[in-house]
């Protein structure tokens, strides 16, 4: 009995590694710290009422942002550990197994639990404000999306100390990820965490598609929408078509692992290559899901800080739609070397190259938005300008990779690693940081400190080039990805050393961002106007932070750059009629169900990881019951009286 318990514990908890004991201790300390602070300041009720049960898109967006920054930290620590292991040949800082777990979680977290919540943060905070809506189309579903993501992220993260992390790469190809070669629960954590967050992402895609199609203010035709909203629309369409494929791929692989199915096994008629196809049918569009909103942010930022209309609006829209469509016809370029044959390879190579055309057009349009403008170098603009050379190189190496015969030499090498970090960091992360700096005043009413922000920018930006340019070179020198060690004599040592220094610089840049946020909360400049950047779109017409109902009166839209047009009219002295009476506002009720439902999903996922089927069954039943209970809930909304609205607006001084 005692032996059994010991045996169970030694498999359940990850033992024998001092770094993991350190992590155990720090996780416990953080939990105790949080519990203590909440209890001491009597904030449990506040936490529940204001945050855990909220359906307000702005608050959900803020929670996404916090989660994304935390996950950026976790994935960044993974990256620092890997680069430390590779700083010199034959290092023994990490063992092979540990290194494999770390690169797997690094990739998984950065794509699904950092990039995705970061774009969802921006979408949630900005889209309803930009289109003149009071919330998203399905606020309750929006809360479910967030909490599913949050608990999925927790599920993947605890694998580090309980059960063991997944170790087959973020792509998790069978047969390596199949039960034959990977017995441990790590892969189950990966499959279930992705599955749960995937449901949330799918719901977000539908939610924003409907919001943008149905909830725009009167007069805002599609071709009058801000470009960020357009980019979110394009990304939502991709999500709706791409995520079901991921769901299917993960379910089938999970059935292989848990139920002895043979979809992707190498025996009994399975075929691992089918998984690879399914994975990238989602995986390649996913790249555009995370990069299109970044494009949208750059369009907003460049126009605002150049004090000029966006150049070639119609081209910008057309290229985003073109990218969204073509992104579904390129997936095989992730495995040209799997022997698909020259006809197939040619098709996918050419389709991939074609994507470069609309992308290139966007770059020229950004340049000519700045041309004959008046460029103000605030932090969002700094990141946007730094993005352009970065993305030009990333796009160029992307075209190089798309040339199928040449890809035979680049595939799986550090050249590929350098390329996708260049587009994902240079595109998505730079874009999200630009967006964070840009909309931070709108979220919190504070402008982030410029000086500390510049330190962060230069460390991160220079560090980026120092880290990744040598990796192109390493790829040409024959270094393949996912090697936990290498020997001397290949000439790789110097370049790996430089690359690691760059990674440390990026780490310092991140620390500066953290300091900057802390400093600005305490001493930062308050935004009292609601329009600190002299913005062009509707969100800047509201006070910062916006009231929970967003717009006291729904604005009427007469053209593109709606807020700029209103301001121009005021500058010319045209009296703008704003004296329409307030009307009662219909708002959704807060609900604790999304949180509870997601906890049940977490319990379900966790018990499936360890194949505790009775508990999984109970949790699943709980999920069903909470869905049924919701459908019998009748009081899901309330109405704000004119009095309340007038009261709030008076507090903002806007009556």
């Amino acid at each position: 009995m005692l032996h059994n318990a010991e045996n169970f514990a030694s498999h359940f908890f990850v033992l024998g590694n001092p770094m993991i004991y350190g992590a155990d201790v720090s996780i416990l300390l953080v939990i105790f710290g949080i519990v203590f602070v909440l209890t001491y300041y009597k904030k449990w009720g506040w936490l529940w009422r204001e945050w855990l049960t909220t359906v307000d898109h702005k608050k959900i967006g803020i929670m996404y942002l916090i989660a994304a920054l935390l996950m950026l930290f976790r994935g960044g620590v993974d990256a620092i550990l890997m680069r430390t292991q590779l700083i010199m040949p034959n290092m023994s800082f990490l063992k092979a197994q540990h290194y494999n777990e770390i690169f797997t979680t690094h990739g998984t977290i950065m794509i699904l639990f950092m990039a995705m919540p970061f774009i969802f943060a921006m979408m949630n905070i900005v889209v309803p404000l930009q289109i003149g809506a009071r919330d998203v189309a399905f606020p309750y579903l929006n809360a479910i999306s967030f909490w599913l993501f949050f608990f999925a992220a927790m599920l993947l993260n605890i694998s580090f100390v309980i059960g063991g992390s997944p170790d087959a790469g973020w792509t998790s190809y069978p047969p390596l990820a199949g039960i034959t070669f990977d017995k441990g629960p790590g892969e189950n954590f990966y499959l279930l965490a992705l599955q749960i967050t995937g449901i949330g992402s799918m719901a977000t895609g539908i939610n924003f598609f409907v919001t943008i199609m149905k909830m725009r203010a009167p007069g805002m035709t599609l071709m009058r929408m801000p470009l960020f909203t357009w980019s979110v629309l394009a990304a939502s369409i991709i999500i709706i078509f791409a995520f079901p494929v991921l769901t299917v791929a993960l379910t089938l692989l999970l059935l292989d692992r848990l139920a002895g199915a043979h979809f992707f096994t190498i025996f009994d008629g399975g075929n691992p290559m089918m998984y690879v196809n399914l994975f990238w049918m989602w995986g390649h569009p996913e790249v555009y899901i995370v990069v299109l909103p970044a494009f949208g942010i750059f369009s907003e930022v460049v126009a605002t800080f150049s004090r000029k209309r966006t150049f070639g609006y119609a081209s910008m829209v057309a290229s985003m739609i073109a990218i969204a469509v073509i992104s579904f016809f390129t997936w095989v370029h992730h495995f040209f070397t799997m022997g698909a044959g020259p006809g197939v390879n040619s098709f996918f190579a050419v389709a991939t190259m074609i994507i470069a055309i609309p992308t290139g057009v966007k770059v020229f349009n950004w340049l000519f938005t700045m041309y004959q403008g008046r460029i103000k170098m605030h932090l969002p603009m700094l990141w946007a300008i730094a993005f352009i050379p970065n993305f030009a190189i990333g796009g160029a190496t992307g075209v190089m990779l798309s040339v199928a015969p040449a890809d035979y030499q680049y595939h799986n090498s550090y050249f590929l690693i350098a390329h996708f970090h260049q587009v994902l960091i240079g595109g998505t992360v730079f874009g999200m940081l630009a967006g964070m700096y840009y909309w931070w005043p709108k979220m919190f009413g504070i402008i982030l400190n410029e000086r500390l922000g510049r330190w962060a920018f230069w460390f991160f930006n220079i560090g980026f080039y120092v880290c990744f340019l040598p990796q192109y070179w390493l790829g040409w020198m024959g270094m393949t990805r996912r090697m936990y060690t290498y020997s001397t004599g290949m000439g790789w040592s110097l370049w790996n050393f430089i690359s690691t220094i760059g990674a440390y610089m990026m780490g310092i840049g991140f620390v500066f961002i953290v300091i900057e946020v802390g400093y600005s909360i305490l001493y930062g400049e308050r935004d009292l106007t609601g329009d600190p950047w002299d913005g062009r779109t509707l969100e800047w017409s509201l006070p910062s932070p916006a009231p929970h109902y967003n717009f006291a009166r729904i604005p009427e839209i007469a053209g593109r750059d709606a807020w700029w047009t209103i301001k121009e009219a005021r500058r010319k002295g045209d009296p703008v009629v704003e004296s329409k009476p307030f009307k009662p506002i219909h708002m959704p009720n807060d609900s604790g169900r999304p949180f509870v439902l997601s906890v049940l999903f977490f319990v379900f996922g966790f018990s499936m990881v360890f194949t505790w089927y009775p508990l999984a069954f109970v949790a699943f039943l709980g999920i069903l019951i909470s869905l049924i209970l919701r459908s019998f809930e009748y009081h899901t909304d309330h109405t704000l009286s004119v009095e309340e609205i007038r009261h709030t607006e008076e507090a903002y001084g806007r009556v």
Binding site: A96, N100, A168, Y173, P175, L176, F181, T265, I266, F267, G269, N271, P272, R307, K308, F311, G312, S315, T337, M338, G339, P342, N345, S346, A349, V350, M353, A356, I357, G360, V361, V363, F364, L367, T369, M370, Y371, Q372, G373, R374, I375, P389, A392, V399, S402, V403, A404, P405, A406, D407, Y408, Q409, H411, N412, G478, T480, R482, M483, T485, G491
Partner: protein
């Protein structure tokens, strides 16, 4: 002043150091130092792509520099400011069409070379077949024509096309010898072909390129190219001195271990086909029986 000089000196030393290092590294940039026709074609198309993308990338960098410098929001900036200017058909036609032309050219070459590289690089000389199996975590090379086998290294005759037939008895891997040419996956239940050829004798670095578990980083091997005579001599030496490859020995090899290079005086006829079809291998069975993948080719 002194500090400035010290900084300049440090910078110059660093630059000089780099320029001294670069030529030394030149040979180690494997994909740009191909020694066979396949690697050469791939290098040429890589260089072509770099030139073509530079046509866009360099002007973008220059334009960005000029625009940001000229249109900064400074009190005395006399540069024109047109906040409402946002359409220009001619400019837009220019930058829609330039990428289209570039991509058109690249696409043509890509399709051409994609088809070219699945054919043997040299049709005059009779090719040599080597059956490659990736195991956990080692490479097994069988020579059906010479009836020998090696582990973690292989020897090939120079100036003769080599038909590598690839499979795996472990998770997928990818067989990559950068100086000879690009890689191709080794997959369980499948047998795929990769044509390579070495123009000159030498020792070339090869490795597994697709992650296959704990011992993956140690899956590198040398490909040793020798003139035909020396190659035949080497084959005879292996045949007369090395131990045979028994099925038991193969079973030991198939375990999850990392091993030193080995040689075997015999191969196991039919072993490769058995590896491919052991777990069903349904996709390739037809090809194997029809002789589409001719594992007996390459006998002299």
């Amino acid at each position: 002043m002194k500090r400035n000089q010290a900084r300049t000196f440090a910078l110059l030393t660093a630059l000089a150091g780099t320029s001294l290092l670069l030529p030394g590294c030149g040979e180690q940039v494997l994909v740009f130092n191909p020694v066979g026709p396949v690697g050469m074609i791939e290098k040429q198309i890589m260089v072509l792509t770099i030139i073509m993308v530079s046509i866009v990338v360099i002007p973008v960098m220059i334009l960005l520099w000029i625009i940001v410098a000229r249109y900064r929001d400074k009190p005395n900036n006399r540069a024109p400011y047109r906040p409402e200017w946002s359409e220009n058909r001619i400019l837009e036609i220019i930058w829609w069409s330039i990428p289209i032309i570039i991509i058109g050219i690249l696409a043509t070459f890509t399709v051409q070379k994609t088809f070219a590289l699945v054919r043997p690089p040299n049709k005059v000389v009779n090719p040599l077949t080597i059956q490659v199996t990736s195991l956990d975590w080692k490479w097994l090379f069988q020579y059906p024509g010479q009836k020998i086998a090696t582990v973690n290294y292989c020897e090939i005759p120079s100036n003769r096309p080599i038909e590598f037939v690839l499979t795996s008895n472990a998770p997928m891997n990818s067989f990559w010898v950068p100086q000879l040419g690009g890689q191709e996956y080794t997959m369980p239940g499948m047998a795929m072909k990769l044509w390579l050829e070495a123009d000159k004798p030498g020792v070339y670095y090869g490795s597994g390129a697709n992650f296959s578990g704990e011992g993956f980083a140690h899956m590198h091997f040398n490909v040793i190219a020798r003139p035909a005579g020396e190659f035949n001599h080497w084959v005879q030496k292996i045949q007369s001195t090395a131990p045979p490859l028994s099925l038991q020995r193969y079973a030991i090899l198939a375990r999850r271990t990392i091993v030193q290079p080995m040689s075997f005086s015999t191969n196991q006829p039919g072993l490769f086909e058995k590896i491919v079809s052991q777990d069903g291998g349904m996709y390739m069975r037809r090809d194997l029986t029809r002789g589409k993948i001719n594992s007996q080719a390459g006998t002299d």
